[in-house]
Every structure is written in C-alpha cells, then in structure tokens.
C-alpha cells in the first residue's frame, strides 16, 4: 500500500484506530463512567434511582462482607502471585533447557492458557469433588490417607477453612503458569550466552550463574510478570463463580464475585458499583506503578 501524504496519513491512522476506539469506548470507558455515576445512587434497576451521595461508599467500608471479600482476594493474591512467578520461571527454564521434545513441552505447558477459564474450572470442580473427584480417589488409592481420617481441607470445594481457597488457587496457578513460563522463556532467550560462557570460564557454579546472571538480567521481565499477575489476581472471578459460587461460607467470595452478587443477585446496583470503583482504583494504582517504574527503574542493560 502506498504511504499517504502527511495529512492523508493522519486520516488513515484515525480511520484505522476508529473501530477499536469505538469498541473501547462502548464497552470499557462508557460503562466505567456509568458505573462511577451509579455508585452515588440507590437503584435496583426496577424502581427509580435515588441520589444518595457517598452513602454506598460509607456502607461499603462498614460492611463485613466487603472486608471479607478484601481479605479473601488478598489471600488469593498472596498465594497466587508468588506461586505463579516461581513456577513460571521454573517452567521457562525447563522450556529453555529441554533437550528433547521442546515443542511438545511448550505446547503442553501453554495449553491450559488457551482453555477457557469456565471449562478449566468445570474440569477442576470435578477433579476436586471431595466424594467423587479424581484427586481424592488417587490419594485414597495410593493409601496416603482414608476418607475417615482425611484432613478437612481434602473436602476441597466444600471446605470453608482453606480447602475451597486451595481449590481455586490450584486452577488459577495451573491456568497461568504456562503463560508466565513463555514470557520468562522469551526473557531467558534474550540473555546473551556470552555471560554464561564467561562465568563458566571463571568457574562459577550453576547456582551462582542463576543468582548473579539470570535473575538480575530477568528483572524487567519479572517485574512485568509480577504486576500483571497482581492485577489478574485482583480480578479473579470465574473460577470461584463456577467452582464454589463464593462459598462455602463466603470463603472464596472474592471482590469481583461480591460485585456480581450484589449487582445481579441482590440488585443493589449502586452499592455494587461502589465496590467496582474501589477495585478499579486499586488496579489503577498498580497499573500506574507499572507505567512509572516498568521501563526506567528495573533495567540492567
């Protein structure tokens, strides 16, 4: 295609961007602004909305359900973020080092990323069913424990004291590790082999090489993965919705699920919007951190 003149070029860029801009505005920005507006209302969708100022926010900060969801989301992130990063790095290194069937391993680890989260959650809900599930069947048939003496968390999706949380963490990590692995792999392949050759000549041990070459040179990638991982952990919703519906006893009712329940089960659109705005601001904060420091501070080249 001929490159248009500078004026025509501007029009060309605008025309190319228009479709995605329209979509982003229609499905992201307008609903976002709408949500902010609704958060000042009392509105059940059926009746007339009523302006109540900041009352939804006031109610939110005094609502134990809200704080429970903050806690649940925090616990989820606290476990999911480090496990996804450490396992992701491990997978990246395995993928780099795999001498045979490299293509196969790449596909195998990346496969869960491509599967729909709903499907993945349904599969794991079955695997982690305490009575009929495959995992418990495996554990029992290996003779590790018996149904009578199994710990409470082995009731997985039906255990409010950790089991259900572990279940959604397993799915979350399983689903995410391959993605991080591939990003780490890209980062690892970017590190010039000369550093390692030099280190080998100096007589460095594999551990020293990892600690002094790999990790520092990977730090931009690690930083990126960490931020993306935190944001995705804050937005987790499908796995608890499908596997536990937030239960048992709200032990997996993460913030996004809390928004969903308040909005579409209790029809408290105003209150739900207030919680949504809260989640938005928290995620925005992490995004700003990434933009600010992502390129500048964590760089070793």
């Amino acid at each position: 295609m001929a490159i248009p003149t500078s004026r025509g070029r501007g029009a060309f860029i605008a025309a190319s961007l228009a479709p995605s801009l329209v979509l982003i505005f229609a499905f992201s920005y307008i609903p976002l602004l709408f949500s902010v507006g609704v958060s000042f209302l009392r509105w059940n969708m059926l009746g007339a909305p009523k302006w109540i100022g900041l009352r939804n926010y006031q109610q939110m900060f005094t609502n134990p359900d809200f704080w429970n969801s903050v806690k649940v989301t925090f616990i989820y992130a606290l476990w999911a973020v480090p496990s996804c990063i450490i396992l992701g790095l491990l997978v990246g290194m395995v993928l780099k080092g795999a001498a045979i069937a490299r293509g196969f391993f790449r596909v195998a680890f990346f496969l869960p990323v491509v599967i729909s989260m709903v499907v993945a959650s349904l599969i794991w809900r079955w695997i982690l069913n305490p009575e009929q599930g495959f995992l418990n069947y495996l554990i029992y048939s290996m003779g590790l424990t018996t149904p009578q003496s199994a710990p409470h968390w082995m009731r997985w999706i039906k255990d409010p004291s950790g089991g259900a949380m572990a279940a959604i963490l397993i799915v979350g990590v399983w689903k995410r590790v391959g993605y991080n692995g591939v990003i780490f792999l890209a980062g690892l392949l970017n590190i010039s082999p000369e550093y390692y050759e030099a280190a080998t000549l100096e007589g460095a041990s594999p551990w020293q090489k990892f600690w002094n070459i790999t990790l520092p040179l990977l730090s931009p990638v690690t930083f990126f993965v960490t931020i993306i991982q935190i944001i995705s952990a804050l937005k987790v919703s499908v796995s608890p919705l499908v596997m536990t519906k937030g239960g048992p006893v709200s032990s997996t009712e993460v913030l996004v699920l809390n928004i969903y329940k308040e909005a579409f089960e209790n029809f408290r659109m105003g209150y739900a919007s207030a919680v949504a705005v809260f989640v938005f601001l928290v995620i925005l904060a992490f995004t700003i951190v990434q933009f600010r420091f992502g390129e500048k501070k964590v760089h070793y080249k």
Partner: protein, 411 residues
C-alpha cells in the same frame, strides 16, 4: 373501481396470510433434565394440534438464574410473553409491574375450570389480592429413606419416625451401623428445607407484615440447635449431596418429591418415602413453579399465552405431568384419575407429597419481594453453624441484623 377491488383482494389475501402465520409466544421455563423434555414434548403437541399460536420454549436456567434474566429483561423492556417461575420469587417481578393479573382471564373464560384447582396450590399465587400465576408444578419436600439400613439397625422399615425426637433415637442406631455412616443427609436445596425444619419446631421465619425476620426467637434457636446436635454427634452429614444418600453413607435424605422418579432408578437399595416428622407442629414448605404472563405484550399474544396455560393445566395434561415428573398435579380431577388408575396406586411413594397437603405453607407466604437476598443470608448462617461450628444464637443474631438491614433499605 377496478383498482379498488384489486386493493380489497390484496388486503384479503394479506389477511389470509396473516391468519395463517401463527402468533409467536415466547416461553421461558426453569426445569432441567427429564422434566425439561416433558415440557418440550407438551410444547410440540400444542403447536401441532392448533395453528393459531406457536409456542417457542426457552430453558432459562434454574429459578434463581431465571430471576436475574427476567429482571434484566424487564429493565431492557424485552420480556418474553410467558414465564415459568417459582412463586417464591414472583413478588419482586410483580412489584416491578411486569406481570399481568389473571383474574380477568379466569372470570371471562369458562373453559378454565378454576374450581378444579387444589385450593392451597391455587392460593399460593395470590399476591396482594390478585391472582398473578397459575399453579403448574408444585411440590413439597419429603423424607427419602434406605429401608435396608433401617432393617439392619433393627428399625421398622415401614414406619418412619413420627417426631424429630423419635428420629433422634432412631438416628443413633442408624449412625452406629458403621464408621462414616450417618442417619441424615442434611441438604437444603434453595433453602426451603430449612424453612420447613424450623416451622416444624413451632418457629417462624418472617414477620407477617414483612417488617423483620424472626430468626432469633427461642423456638427458632431451639430448632437450629437440634440440627446442630445431629451434626455434632455425627448423626447427620451436612451438604453431603445426593451421593451421601445414594451410596448408603446416609440413611435418610430430605428433598423434593420430584426426586422419586430419578432416585428410584438410581438406588441400589429398597428406597422408602415418608411424610416429614414434626416436633411442635406439622408443617412443610410448598415450593415449585407457576405460569405467568408478561404485561408488556399485545393482547392477541397474551391470549395465546393464556390458551397455552389452559392447555398445560388441563385435566389430561396434569395427569400426564404428575406421572412423568412426580410433581403435584394442580387439579382435583387429575388427582382422582391418578388415585384410581394411575401412578399413586401403582407406586404409593408418589402419594407421599399429597399426604402433606393439609399443612403446607408457601415458601414465601408473606410475599416478601427481596426474598432471595434474605434467604441467602439465612442459608449462610446455617453454613457457618454447621460447617464451622459457629455458635447458634450469635450467628443467627448477626444474620438477622443483616437481613433486617436489607428489609429496612428496601422499605
């Protein structure tokens, strides 16, 4: 003049064409599995036997999922014509002004036979003095029990304990049959089971004027404490699902009468049914669904919906319906047929739910609009008490406080 007659002819032709294409009536329903197939069969029959209306059935998910879809549809102004929904959730939709009152249809249409309806089932659809729904698939929960386990425990397999105290005594024997064996599988479905249990202990759930919940009264706390005792003494398993009963891990399960048809083919043991035990008084919740017509539709379309309601609740179809699904039949004349030559005679287990007719109470008998929200809070309180061993009184007090705040917010 010639032109005029051509125009007339064309109009007449158009009229014929119009008369021949049937009026489409969209219908959202909320029963899955084998029951769904029964509904689809009825729709096909209806569409084949007449050409005026075309019913287009859509499965809208569970009752709870369907409520959400309906409210979204009401907001968007894009409702279907006909709705099948649990009467327990109807007040919220009715209050939104979306549902047509049917009293006019009932009075005008002699073909409807209002008097043939079993009165309490019909009455469950009267809200603020008007009839909004027609009883279609009503049910009560009943007791299912494993007769083989009863025999093994030295209990009479033909006589289910009459009171909850009797049950407690029997439970000790049943649970003693083995390790990890329980007398009762305590599952609550949507929550209606729990409501029934506390009623049986003489407790109330909701104030008559919908001003507050009554979960902290002594009888209520006693009822919950009784079931906590069953859990604590390992006589009952909480949320064991169908499997706990089917696998012989629990001797008794409480569930809707609808499960007879499915469970009798699954059970590898002699499965009995019984009416509920009672404590202070006999009482069971009446659940199930009704048929509703949405207001925002042209009259000829609504007439089609009404015609289909009549078809679904006709004598013959209510017989076939009860036989296929184990739901109540909504009609007295259908019940007579079932008694004399049908199902209730062949398999008396199907009759269990009718034995409770004398003391049924609709799940949401006070017609509280935000019922689902309140009930979710209540169910969570039970979960906390039974799964996490939370103290009964304090947990119910906290839940009641939360529920009453919701009631206040919406009043």
């Amino acid at each position: 003049m010639k032109r005029f007659s051509i125009a007339i002819a064309l109009l007449a032709l158009a009229g014929v064409a119009f008369a021949q294409s049937p009026v489409k009536v969209s219908f959202w329903y909320s029963v899955g599995g084998a029951v769904k197939e029964t509904i689809e069969t009825r729709i096909k029959e209806y569409n084949a036997m007449q050409s005026k209306y075309q019913i287009e059935g859509v499965f809208a998910g569970s009752y709870e999922e369907s409520v959400q879809k309906v409210i979204a549809a009401v907001v968007a102004g894009d409702t279907p014509v006909l709705l099948h929904q649990a009467h327990v959730y109807a007040p919220q939709i009715i209050d939104a002004g979306a549902i047509e009152a049917l009293d006019g249809y009932i009075q005008k249409d002699k073909g409807f036979q209002r008097d043939q309806f079993i009165e309490p089932l019909f009455q469950a659809n009267v809200y603020k003095g008007k009839t909004y729904g027609i009883a279609f698939n009503c049910s009560t929960p009943i007791m299912f029990f494993n007769k083989d386990m009863f025999k093994k425990a030295g209990l009479n397999p033909d006589k289910f304990p009459e009171t909850w105290d009797d049950f407690y005594q029997a439970a000790k024997k049943l649970a003693a049959l083995g390790k990890d064996t329980y007398a009762l599988s305590l599952d609550y479905g949507s929550g209606w089971i729990l409501e029934g249990l506390v009623w049986q202990f003489g407790a109330e759930w909701m104030a008559k004027d919908n001003s507050k919940v009554l979960w902290t009264e002594k009888a209520h706390i006693d009822a919950v404490t009784f079931f906590k005792k069953l859990i604590d003494e390992k006589l009952a398993i909480y949320k064991g699902g169908d499997t706990a009963f089917m696998s012989g891990k629990a001797a008794v399960a409480m569930n809707s009468t609808v499960n007879i048809s499915k469970w009798k083919t699954m059970a590898t043991f002699d499965m009995g049914t019984s009416v509920y035990p009672y404590q202070a008084k006999k009482s069971v919740p009446l659940g199930g669904g009704s048929l509703y017509i949405f207001k925002r539709n042209p009259q000829n379309v609504k007439d089609g919906a009404w015609d289909f309601i009549k078809f679904m609740t006709s004598k013959d179809n209510q017989v076939a319906w009860a036989e296929a699904t184990a739901y109540f039949t909504a009609r007295k004349d259908s019940k007579d047929v079932l008694d004399k030559e049908g199902l209730l005679k062949k398999d008396p287990r199907y009759n269990t739910t009718y034995l409770q007719l004398g003391y049924i109470r609709p799940e949401n008998e006070t017609g509280y609009p935000n019922f689902l929200q309140i009930r979710t809070i209540y169910n969570e309180a039970w979960d906390k008490i039974m799964l996490q061993g939370a103290p009964v009184k304090q947990t119910l007090e906290e839940a009641a406080k939360k529920a009453n705040a919701v009631i206040k917010e919406n009043s």
